[in-house]
């Protein structure tokens, strides 16, 4: 679907979600797309929207598509602001790009990775996806930090986000790298993890920076 079409769908869906009426002239004025009128005509032909009495309505197909764009945008915002800690200006503009390129699978992965967040950084609700519905039955985010594991849990390291570079170097020379299979041996008084036949004691601060996936 073309980028501009998605922008228009997103805008209409957002208005509808806020229980506001998407009047045609308001849409044409406020949506930031050149030649919006031409696009609207095309979208009507493609059966994404209908225009009745100067008000735009989403068709069933258009509603699903618009909802998807909003979901991708707000998830991207969450990821960029809370995980990567970008500036607001930066995460807002980058999320606007992300919403057009993420596949459904990638979106669900991000959603699961973030633990199915309910609202975006602006406080707007994030439309749920298939992955979230699964979430209601098995409450298990895909990626955890080592500190969230229980002793005895086996898992695979997905990525590490250490504060210092030499921390990463040191962990990697002990065989602790993404892809490594580890087992949490204990959490108190100090974290001890088993990597293959090696037992390594680490601080809580370091354990918190190791992200894993249970196996």
């Amino acid at each position: 679907m073309e980028k501009n079409v998605e922008e228009i769908l997103e805008y209409i869906w957002t208005l509808k979600d806020r229980d506001e009426t998407p009047h045609l002239d308001r849409v044409l004025k406020e949506v930031q797309v050149d030649n919006a009128a031409d696009y609207i005509d095309g979208m009507v032909k493609d059966n994404l929207i209908e225009v009745k009495n100067e008000v735009v309505y989403l068709t069933e197909v258009g509603d699903v598509a618009g909802r998807g764009v909003v979901r991708r945008c707000r998830l991207a915002e969450w990821l960029l602001s809370n995980v990567f800690e970008l500036d607001q200006k930066e995460w807002e503009s980058t999320a606007c790009e992300f919403e057009h390129i993420l596949s459904e699978e990638a979106t669900d992965s991000i959603c699961t990775f973030l633990g199915h967040p309910p609202v975006c950084p602006h406080g707007e609700p994030i439309p749920d996806g298939d992955c979230c519905r699964k979430f209601t039955t098995e409450i298990k985010p895909l990626v955890l930090t080592v500190t969230e594991l229980m002793p005895g849990d086996r898992c695979r390291v997905v990525f590490m986000t250490p504060k210092h570079h030499d921390r990463l170097d040191r962990l990697s020379s002990l065989g602790l790298v993404p892809g490594a299979e580890i087992k949490l041996h204990q959490k108190q008084p100090t974290y001890v993890i088993d990597v293959g036949e090696t037992s390594i004691a680490i601080d809580y601060d370091i354990a918190r920076e190791i992200f894993v996936k249970k196996i």
Binding site: H164, H165, D166, R167, L168, D169, R170, L171, S172, S173, L174, G175, V177, P178, H185, Q186, Q188, P189, T190, V192, D194, G196, E197, T198, S199, I200, A201, I202, D203, D205, I206
Partner: protein
């Protein structure tokens, strides 16, 4: 213990060399001992070897100089002991490298093999600890491993000498590895550009280029000695260019690539029947660092240590040696003999008088300190070889954090209970300079060495348990307080606690025996001459009547402030030479009934905190520099007296009696 003749070293320098290299705690020192027939300390924790040991060996009828190096996890140094090993590879004109590998941790061992291959050094691999592999249900296809790497691989169990003859044979026909890790094109390009700028060295330009790309700052010195400034700038430029292509540090990117290759090889040759790690030793290891059970485990260990060293060593053995052997036989006989054959009174006094070399120096050294040190060394060797100490580090990590240290610092501190001098050298296993300075200070200040501790335990045991509790509480409190304050004063960041725990192993009687013998030998060589010197000084001062002057001069401090008898000044005086000798002096005062219990506790607290012995002081100067040593002494001496005076004041005012 680390003394080798300078001449000997020079001579050995001309011999072809064999270098032992490998991960920490894999048995390099055991193989070194096998090849050279010389004992070097072997323990079950990473970091036992902090200095390179050199020895001579006859291998296949030829003389070699053998170098035992501190363990490394990567040849990209991340601590001082790792740097030592890398520097040897870089600068020594070695001819032969033997990599000692932990067979059950093959992947990590291969990380080093791949780096040796990159360096273009011919080597062979001794796949050690092979018994632990079989017991875990792992099989390794050694033939395949050997052909993949293109070097010889032998399975060995060094502690039982299995397979070591094959290693010896193999040393004659070392090969360069055919393995070559390919990196991303950006990195490869960086290597290609950097190589022509580098001087010829012992190891390949490619490997040096990779170290430089990884940002190895420890190379700076070498670089400035061997490369022109202009080229150094070019190298820095290339590095920066390559860095921009990666989000992570280049060191990590390179390590990951190597690990991936190591993993590929490991998967190829390993087959495991997936046996869960279990059994008694694994259970024991878990108990030792269990948040709940770890504490009673520590208490029981300490109690057993007390029984063995305090009761058996300081009690029964000292009683026997001092009262029976020296008191009833040697001293009377010697006195009689000396009086008959030497007519001069002054010489008689020198040998068997109040400050006699036999009646004081020898009977202190042999009768009081030796049995205590001996039993302590035995108990301590068992602890070291079991693998308990690293687990103790896990237990105390949080407490040590409050002193700006991490759990790893418990190792030198516990070693300090053996000998503070050796322990000061061991601070090299710590990562930050701040950690090393704080631990060196705490060792010098308040960690009593085995000899001193034994005498102290013996003396306190003679009073009551509450006297022991007061002494221990004051010392621990002072250590903690000083550590806490030092961490605020001394600049530097807190260092990470990332520590590999060795498996629990049953200590081998033979190693315990040799290690104890080696340590006692070292004790006798180092302590006895100082005991004799100290006694001689006292003798001279006494004969010249200076001792009385010193006692009078020290009396405001010793008598008024500390509330001790004037004669205690002598003990503190010889405490400058060795603290255990000073403690033994206090012990004699107690035996003669010259001190009441409060005086004993006060004098022992002061003596424990008193300035480090001469050997320890020299080690502090060597490791930390003269300035640090001077500052530490300037702080410790008045501080020890102040704490003693304060304690005396409190005990007197509260009317405590033990």
């Amino acid at each position: 213990m680390h003394a080798h003749g300078k001449k000997q070293e020079k001579k050995n320098d001309q011999l072809p060399k064999i270098l032992l290299i490998g991960n920490p705690n894999v048995g390099k020192s055991v193989i070194f001992g096998y090849l050279t027939g010389r004992y070097v300390t072997v323990s079950n924790y990473p970091g036992t070897t902090v200095e390179v040991s050199r020895g001579k060996a006859l291998v296949n009828g030829k003389s070699y100089s053998i170098l035992d190096t501190p363990g490394v996890n990567s040849l990209l140094p991340m601590s001082e002991d790792e740097e030592v090993t890398r520097n040897i590879l870089l600068t020594e004109k070695q001819e032969r490298v033997v990599q000692v590998a932990d067979a059950k941790n093959l992947k990590r061992s291969l990380l080093i093999s791949l780096q040796l291959a990159e360096m273009g050094l011919p080597f062979l691999i001794a796949l050690n600890l092979y018994d632990e592999v079989t017991s875990r249900g792992i099989k390794i296809d050694i033939g395949k491993l050997s052909s993949t790497l293109g070097v010889d691989v032998m399975s060995t169990v060094a502690t039982r000498r299995e397979g070591l003859d094959k290693v010896e044979e193999g040393i004659e026909s070392l090969k360069q590895s055919v393995c070559n890790v390919k990196y991303d094109e950006e990195i490869e390009k960086g290597i290609r550009e950097m190589e022509p700028l580098l001087p010829r060295a012992n190891i390949s330009g490619r490997s040096i280029a990779l170290m430089l790309l990884a940002g190895d700052e420890t190379l700076t010195g070498w670089l400035h000695d061997n490369v022109s400034n202009e080229n150094i700038n070019k190298i820095e430029e290339i590095r920066r260019k390559v860095c921009t292509s990666y989000r992570q540090s280049l060191g990590y990117v390179i390590n990951r690539r190597r690990l991936a290759e190591a993993e590929r090889i490991t998967d190829d040759v390993y087959s495991t029947s997936k046996k869960e790690r279990s059994g008694f030793s694994h259970f024991l290891g878990s108990m030792m660092m269990h948040p709940l059970w770890g504490i009673p485990f520590l208490l029981v260990t300490l109690y057993l240590l007390y029984l063995f060293v305090g009761d058996f060593g300081a009690g029964i053995s000292v009683d026997f040696l001092e009262t029976e052997l020296f008191g009833r036989f040697i001293n009377p006989w010697a006195t009689k003999l000396v009086h008959t054959i030497i007519p001069f009174e002054i010489l008689q006094d020198l040998l068997v008088g109040e400050y006699g070399l036999i009646t004081m120096a020898l009977s202190y050294a042999v009768a009081i300190v030796f049995p205590i040190v001996g039993t302590f060394f035995i108990a301590f060797s068992i602890l070291e070889d079991s693998g308990y100490l690293p687990r103790l580090a896990v237990m105390v990590n949080k407490i040590f954090r409050l002193m700006g240290l991490n759990g790893k610092a418990v190792l030198p501190m516990v070693l300090g209970l053996g000998c503070d001098t050796m322990a000061t050298l061991t601070t090299r296993i710590l990562d930050g300079k701040k950690d090393r300075v704080i631990v060196t200070l705490l060792l010098a200040l308040g960690v009593p060495c085995s000899a001193q501790l034994g005498v102290i335990l013996g003396m306190l045991g003679g009073i009551s348990f509450s006297a022991f509790v007061v002494w221990a509480a004051v010392i621990l409190g002072v250590l903690f307080l000083v550590g806490f304050l030092a961490s605020k004063v001394i600049k530097g960041d807190a260092t990470d606690f990332i520590y590999e725990l060795p498996p629990i192993r049953i200590p081998q009687a033979k190693n315990i025996f040799f290690k104890t013998i080696a340590r006692i030998d070292w004790y006798l060589r180092e302590a006895v001459p100082l005991f004799i010197l100290g006694t001689f000084v006292l003798f001279t001062l006494d004969k010249l009547n200076i001792l009385k002057v010193i006692e009078a001069a020290a009396s405001p401090v010793v008598v008024t402030l500390l509330g001790l008898p004037p004669k205690a000044a002598e003990a503190f005086l010889i405490g400058f030479l060795r603290r255990d000798y000073g403690a033994a002096g206090l012990y004699a005062l107690q035996k003669d009934g010259l001190m009441d219990p409060v005086q004993i506790v006060v004098s022992l607290v002061t003596m424990t905190l008193f300035i480090p012995c001469i050997a320890n002081l020299f080690m502090v100067i060597k490791e930390r520099g003269l300035m640090v040593a001077v500052w530490m002494t300037a702080f410790i001496l008045p501080f020890a007296i102040m704490v003693g005076g304060l304690l005396n004041f409190i005990l007197r005012i509260t009317g405590a009696s033990f």
